[in-house]
């Protein structure tokens, strides 16, 4: 070490038992090839990758099998040679337990590499020190490098720091979570690659110095890095800094505070302080990519916990099933079996072991009940303040807990809920064993939903105002038309003509059905989009580092959800139209061509035209892509109205007794028909709304009971309540739009 780095302490923090010895006492082993590799297209924050292979294709090790989709995305490579056996939805390791599209490879056992070479050779450069920065970034992107410590943010994207001038690169080798030793072993055995990665990163960022923060419980790793520094002759730019062991020193924000004394502004990014933070594993992967052209196809994963006999670190191909890795390690399922991906503080418990290892899988922890007892039922908060003392973000966890419990979300937000990094230190020290983090996640989710709803309401207001304007305009137009019509009727009185009135109606049926199909397709597409966005959002929520992406995802989600609602309404309307069309065409009591019936037909057609126009206007305001379809619909409907009207007028003229009186009334009748149609709808909605409110109340009660009694079902009930609240919000939104008609 050449520079004396002044260390700073972050507030709070805890010292849980480290439990690292079990897994760091033997070298990294290479995991054997499993019978299949499952590669989720979405292992990173951002858009999922797009497959470029088909089932049955043979691929070589390192071959691109999926391309990035958009800027924030990463490609995927075949971890070994073999055959693509499936591209299908599989369950992926994610807290939400969702399924996602995965590419499944059946290895051929040859492990044949695709041709690959270092960037320097590929460019034919003499001096490998002056590879252009854009080429480096391109290589990092092409090799699918994504953050290997946190949630997997595509590294190339993180290195685009825009207008921020970066002076310090921080490599995170703290590895503060108990049990995990993957980075420790990587630094011991691949110190040279880590330093090389740091060199490349420094070049890309144009930064002057690099600080590698390592907790003082990893002396071997520190020694290895120091040696490598000397080898690379980099003592002047890069410092290996030993930091005190304290959880969560490896949190990005905390590590920055320890090493620089600066705090990342709330809601901001480290780049605004001139700092970029990367995991040591990512740095090593970058070195491999740049110097050898090896994409990110394997990683080091710790397998530990008393339920495995053979604890240690494995170099494992991405896509290897967790069950394979566990059985290599001599896994003996224990009572109250748990397998945690990640560490005991922030990892998540897997629902099954049939899930693949992904880019961010740093640890598989299979504890026994004795080793990590599951929590006892929570007791009441005694406001002892231990949680506040432990919180590294200087929050007041117990206040956040009370606010979350009382659903006083605005107060929770005011108490900086969103600065919570979900490190779990508060839950760890809480003597009442309250699952505090779970409450914070719940509140954060609820607040995000609330925000989305507020945005929706604002949009609804804009739409409403647009509608009022339009209605004024239409009224004026209608009045003008009515006058014109009256005159025309008077003129045409002498001319008697039969119009094929009934014809107009059957034509509506196929048209409506076609509309319906189209709408349903759109709905399906939108729903798929929502599912994807939700997953992304979940991923972002999981990773405190990516919290800044969340609002973007959320607003995207809210928009698509909005679209779904409009579409659903459209579909309902289209279905009605499709149903009523044949009914109207069918045999009727009385004369189908009587003036009354024709008048009614005309009125319904006109009313339908109204709705169609409204929907079109709404879609236009929203900028929805249904606009074209809707416009076509409106045109058709206009034709229908015209037809019905002429049929009616014709019949009217044949019936001299009715004369102009009726046609004078037609305008007013028209509007009343509209309101009558709207009323039952609104009433029904109101009923539904009340019923839903009831349901929400009940769900809340049940949840409260469960909480008070510390039952296990709390989580499930919370989910249920959220769903009910969602539904309620949907009804309310619907009611507010209907109410405005």
């Amino acid at each position: 070490m050449t520079h004396l780095i002044q260390l700073h302490e972050f507030d709070g923090g805890i010292h849980p038992p480290e439990n690292k010895r079990q897994s760091n006492s033997r070298p990294i082993r290479k995991a054997s090839l499993p019978s299949e590799l499952v590669l989720p297209l979405h292992q990173h924050i951002g858009a999922p990758a797009n497959p470029v292979v088909a089932v049955g294709d043979t691929v070589l090790k390192g071959q691109v099998i999926a391309e990035p989709e958009g800027f924030v995305s990463a490609p995927l490579h075949a971890p070994t040679s073999g055959k693509i056996s499936a591209i299908e939805a599989r369950q992926v390791p994610h807290a939400s337990g969702l399924s996602e599209t995965c590419i499944v490879i059946e290895p051929d056992g040859e492990d044949t590499w695709i041709e690959h070479q270092g960037l320097c050779d590929a460019l034919g450069l003499d001096h490998c020190d002056d590879i252009p920065v854009d080429k480096l970034l391109e290589r990092i992107r092409d090799c699918g490098i994504a953050g290997m410590g946190g949630a997997g943010f595509p590294t190339a994207v993180k290195l685009h720091t825009g207008k921020h001038k970066i002076d310090t690169l921080i490599l995170n080798g703290a590895e503060c979570e108990p049990y995990i030793t993957a980075d420790d072993m990587l630094m011991r055995e691949h110190a040279s690659e880590v330093i090389r990665g740091a060199q490349i990163l420094l070049q890309i960022l144009g930064a002057e110095r690099c600080l590698i923060g390592v907790e003082d419980n990893k002396p071997e790793a520190i020694a290895a890095l120091d040696d490598a520094l000397v080898q690379h002759n980099e003592e002047h730019h890069i410092d290996v800094v030993t930091i005190p062991t304290k959880y969560p020193s490896g949190g990005e924000k905390q590590l920055i505070q320890i090493l620089t004394g600066k705090e990342v502004p709330s809601g901001g990014i480290p780049a605004s302080l001139g700092i970029v933070c990367q995991n040591v594993g990512t740095a090593a992967a970058i070195a491999d990519a740049v110097d050898f052209g090896r994409p990110l196809i394997s990683r080091i994963t710790t397998v530990t916990g008393d339920a495995v006999r053979d604890k240690g670190n494995w170099e494992v191909l991405l896509g290897t099933p967790v069950s394979h890795l566990l059985s290599l390690s001599g896994y003996r399922p224990a009572k109250r079996e748990r397998v945690v991906m990640g560490g005991p503080m922030m990892g998540f418990a897997l629902p099954t072991t049939e899930l693949p290892v992904v880019k961010t899988t740093n640890c598989l922890l299979a504890p026994t009940e004795k080793e990590l007892p599951t929590n006892n039922p929570a007791m009441a908060c005694i406001r002892c303040g231990l949680c506040a003392e432990a919180c590294p973000a200087d929050l007041l966890p117990q206040q956040l807990y009370w606010f979350s419990k009382a659903q006083e979300f605005d107060k929770a937000e005011q108490h900086n809920l969103f600065d919570c990094i979900e490190c779990g230190a508060c839950s760890y020290v809480c003597p009442s064993e309250i699952p505090l983090v779970q409450y914070y996640r719940f509140s954060k989710g609820a607040i995000r939903e609330e925000r989305a709803a507020a945005e929706k309401a604002e949009q609804a207001r804009i739409r409403y105002e647009a509608r009022i304007d339009r209605q004024e305009r239409e009224k004026a137009e209608k009045e003008a038309k009515r006058k014109a019509r009256a005159e025309a009727a008077a003129k045409a009185q002498s001319v008697k003509k039969e119009a094929p009135a009934a014809k107009a109606v059957p034509a509506a049926e196929p048209a409506a059905n076609a509309d319906l199909e189209k709408l349903q397709k759109q709905l399906a597409a939108a729903q798929a989009a929502v599912a994807k966005t939700k997953e992304k959002l979940e991923a972002a929520r999981e990773d405190p580092e990516k919290a800044d992406k969340i609002p973007a995802f959320e607003s995207a989600l809210a928009k698509t959800q909005d679209k779904i609602k409009t579409l659903a309404k459209d579909i309902a309307a289209a279905k009605k139209a499709a149903k009523s069309a044949p009914a109207a065409a069918g045999p009727d009591k009385g004369d189908p061509n009587s003036p009354e019936r024709l008048q009614k037909k005309w009125e319904t057609a006109a009313a339908r035209l109204e709705t169609a126009r409204k929907r079109l206007a709404d879609a236009e305001v929203d900028g929805a892509d249904t606009v074209d379809a809707l416009r076509a619909g409106v045109e058709k409907q206009e034709a229908r109205v015209a037809e019905a009207k002429s049929a009616y007028e014709a019949s009217l003229n044949s019936d001299a007794s009715l004369k102009t009186a009726v046609s004078n009334n037609a305008g007013t009748d028209n509007t009343s028909a509209e309101t009558v149609a709207a009323k039952p709808d609104a009433e029904q909605l109101q009923k539904k709304l009340l019923a839903q409110k009831d349901r929400v109340e009940k769900a809340k009660e049940r949840l409260e009971m469960a909480r008070a009694e510390g039952l296990d079902s709390v989580e499930a009930l919370e989910k249920a309540l959220n769903k009910q609240l969602d539904k309620l919000a949907a009804f309310e939104a619907q009611a507010s739009t209907t109410g405005e008609v």
């Binding site: 805890i14 809601g267 007791m379 007041l396 009442s432 699952p435």
Partner: protein, 351 residues
């Protein structure tokens, strides 16, 4: 294969509420022992009675509310409430005072508000205030002069029992009376400080017994601090505020109760380390705790000096309980990444 899926963290530290409460209870034992040594078995009997009443009332309410009784009784909070009340009441208070105060504390001051953790006021002090207001005579005359001082040998267990349960006042009159604070306050206008201190209650410096009781509670409190169960903020700011008031306003011993008496008599130390620090009803932010403690110290001095009651820990604590939520809202710490702390409860602009 279905695995157990629980939310993170998957590990938990050694802290347990029941253990914390038990430690608090243990930390009062030196005080209780010294009380028994100087003032007889009254306190011990009352304390046991209060604990039994507390547990029984808690069990009753939990049963009525259909909560798992043993699960919540195990948190030991009712135990501590009963214990503190037993320690705070006069040693020879009649049994029904103890039972009334304790059951009221548990049922009305704690469970009515939703049980443990939800009570805005310190239950023990609510119970204490109730009986102090309702039965001022019994609450101010059943204090005992140290047997070690009076040399009386009626300190026996059975005597205490008969006084507490049968109201055998004839035997009691021999050694019961007002507290030192009470005596000093009302006699200082007639006697000089030196004369006063020769009375049996005081018996000179460090000879009345109650100084030792307070020192024993101080020791217990320090033990809790070392065990990190309470922080220094509330006791220190409370005692400092009391001391400063006494030095500035009551420096003349011949007119006002002296500092030593303020600090080492009455329920001062019990209040500072065991009652004011009751986390549920106190302030929770570091700055908030300082304000809260200081508020209690000042109120304590004001009521003791100018109020109608000789001691005032209960009232001072209850008054500050009112203010605690407000204090908390305005003393939030500055969170990581924020340039300044948030204030109040209204969602304001970003800071």
């Amino acid at each position: 294969m279905a695995l157990l899926t629980l939310s993170s963290p998957h590990t938990h530290g050694p802290n347990r509420t029941s253990r914390i409460m038990l430690t608090v209870a243990l930390a009062t034992l030196p005080g209780l022992a010294v009380m028994t040594w100087f003032f007889g078995f009254g306190s011990l009997i009352n304390t046991v009675l209060a604990i039994i009443t507390a547990l029984a009332s808690e069990a009753l309410v939990l049963k009525l509310r259909k909560y798992p009784v043993s699960f919540f009784l195990k948190d030991n909070t009712a135990l501590v409430t009963g214990l503190l009340l037993g320690l705070a009441l006069p040693p020879l208070a009649p049994w029904w005072i103890t039972v009334l105060a304790t059951s009221f504390a548990i049922i009305f001051a704690k469970q009515i508000y939703g049980g443990m953790g939800n009570n805005p006021f310190n239950p023990a002090m609510v119970g204490y205030a109730l009986v102090l207001i309702s039965f001022p005579v019994q609450m101010t005359t059943n204090w005992v002069t140290s047997f070690q001082v009076s040399g009386s040998d009626v300190a026996g267990f059975t005597d205490a029992l008969s006084i507490i349960f049968a109201g055998a006042s004839s035997t009691a009159d021999a050694f019961t009376g007002a507290t030192p604070l009470d005596q000093y306050k009302y006699l200082i206008s007639k006697e000089t400080s030196d004369e006063l201190l020769q009375r049996n209650t005081f018996n000179g410096w460090l000879n009345g017994g109650w100084e030792w009781v307070n020192l024993a509670f101080l020791a217990g409190g320090l033990f809790l601090m070392v065990r990190r169960i309470i922080t220094w903020h509330i006791p220190v700011s409370m005692l400092a505020a009391l001391g400063i008031c006494s030095l500035i306003l009551g420096w003349d011993e011949d007119l006002y109760t002296p500092l030593s008496l303020h600090l080492l008599s009455g329920a001062t130390m019990l209040g500072a380390f065991f009652i004011a620090t009751d986390p549920v009803s106190a302030s929770t932010t570091p700055t908030g705790k300082l304000i809260y403690g200081a508020g209690i110290g000042i109120l304590l001095y004001v009521i003791r000096t100018w109020g109608a009651y000789p001691d005032a820990v209960a009232f001072a604590v209850l008054l500050m309980n009112f203010a605690a939520p407000f204090i908390d809202a305005y003393t939030q710490p500055r969170s990581y990444g924020h340039s300044k702390p948030k204030r109040g409860l209204k969602p304001g602009e970003k800071s």
